[in-house]
Point group: C2
Chain length 248, copies 2
């Protein structure tokens, strides 16, 4: 049986302030937990139901009932396992390859999708403004499908961070140079702005190139969702590398 103090701790970790206080977060679902176990995340505790036990083989796994899992889970349909991990050590950001910077992303699903996209496109560092949603938010983790284990997500004051990067800074705008005709540099930074307000004034001052995705439909549509726009821009950046492998 799971002791009350543990249940209280686990529930408290749904809130960012307690995650920061304890430097721990909760991951749920077989796939996500498996991916985190495979990586270097320190394990505090793993709770697993009978049905998921074969899939999560780990010496620290504690067998619990479905109803105990329901009490601890933040999901409508818990999926066999809930684990508490320690925050990973933030790695230093390097500029040898492209990286992505997020300026005030609010929606957990968008951040989770962008983390998953970084993983697909081999972007190792994701730098977020302090007002971007927390990457250990349960809904973000859910959307990353385990990709969080492979991406170095750090939170920085962007004007400070972007002042000294030594690589070109590209910002996604509604009005900018079309990405289809642009040759991008070999390394650089892609900045994506807030869902409603785009890139902030302070960050805009540091952007070297404004880029955009041309629209083909009627002009009544407002804009692409930030996660789908990130998908298209990262694809363009990588396809460019395939088309021009030797360019520096």
């Amino acid at each position: 049986m799971v002791v009350k103090s543990q249940i209280k701790l686990i529930k408290s970790l749904r809130q960012k302030k307690y995650r920061i206080q304890h430097r721990m977060f909760v991951a749920e679902g077989i796939k996500t937990v498996q991916e985190l176990l495979r990586s270097n995340f320190g394990v505090y505790k793993i709770y697993v139901t009978d049905s998921a036990q074969l899939k999560i083989k780990h010496h620290q796994g504690e067998l619990i009932s479905e109803s105990e899992l329901n009490v601890m889970s933040s999901l409508k349909n818990p999926n066999g396992v809930l684990a508490v991990f320690y925050f990973p050590e933030a790695k230093p950001v390097d500029f040898t390859d492209w990286l992505v910077v997020l300026d005030g992303i609010n929606d957990p699903g968008n951040l989770g999708t962008i983390i998953r996209l970084c993983d697909w496109f081999g972007i190792r560092h994701l730098v977020c403004s302090p007002n971007t949603v927390d990457c250990f938010n349960p809904k973000v983790l859910q959307a990353t499908m385990g990709s969080i284990s492979r991406i170095n997500v750090v939170y920085r004051e962007l004007p400070d961070f972007l002042s000294n990067v030594g690589v070109p800074i590209y910002g996604a705008y509604m009005q900018g140079e079309t990405i289809y005709k642009k040759e991008v540099s070999k390394t650089g930074i892609l900045v994506m702005g807030n869902e409603a307000n785009g890139i902030s004034k302070e960050v805009e001052a540091l952007i070297n190139e404004k880029i955009s995705i041309p629209q083909f439909g009627k002009e009544t549509t407002e804009s692409l969702n930030v996660a789908t726009a990130t998908a298209i821009l990262l694809s363009e950046i990588r396809r460019d590398r395939i088309a021009n492998p030797t360019r520096t």
Copy 2:
């Protein structure tokens, strides 16, 4: 005051079977309702709160209180207006430009995002298998941001529909020809499969070309989300048209 029978009707429209029975659906939020009013959707009823009244000017608008809206709304945070529209007439699908076919998309957010993408990229027809989530599901409407008013979404048995199209049929696969090096035809069909299982066997038999988006990260990642993959593939199809405007 909203009469009880109306509240009952509106709540019943959260379920697909009652939407089909009444041939009506509920739209919420100022932006979505505005877009639908601007289009050809027949209006059955509009309920609007005092705060939203100036934004939704319509002779049929009935003033209601915030608490009445809360009772009728399927949203956690209702946004000023709720309207009931009649189903639009399905238009005939034509093959003079690219169209998108969805084979068993389950997630309302994915379908909504794909409808919004079609709007951005000027795709006018979206053909869905009968087991794809209903496009008038409240969560789908929420994610389309009004784009639903500009896209002709129809539900068809895909093996039957795809048998007689007269244009090349491209299917998105994990293993296929890389889209970055492929020249696509001027018109064609892009088929996207179910989130977990991909394109069904029956539809696969009708695919002419298997295409895929190359992965740049470590191979441990599973796949791109279907909406982000659609974003990248539509972008590639349209960019190709820009690069080769005269090709047929």
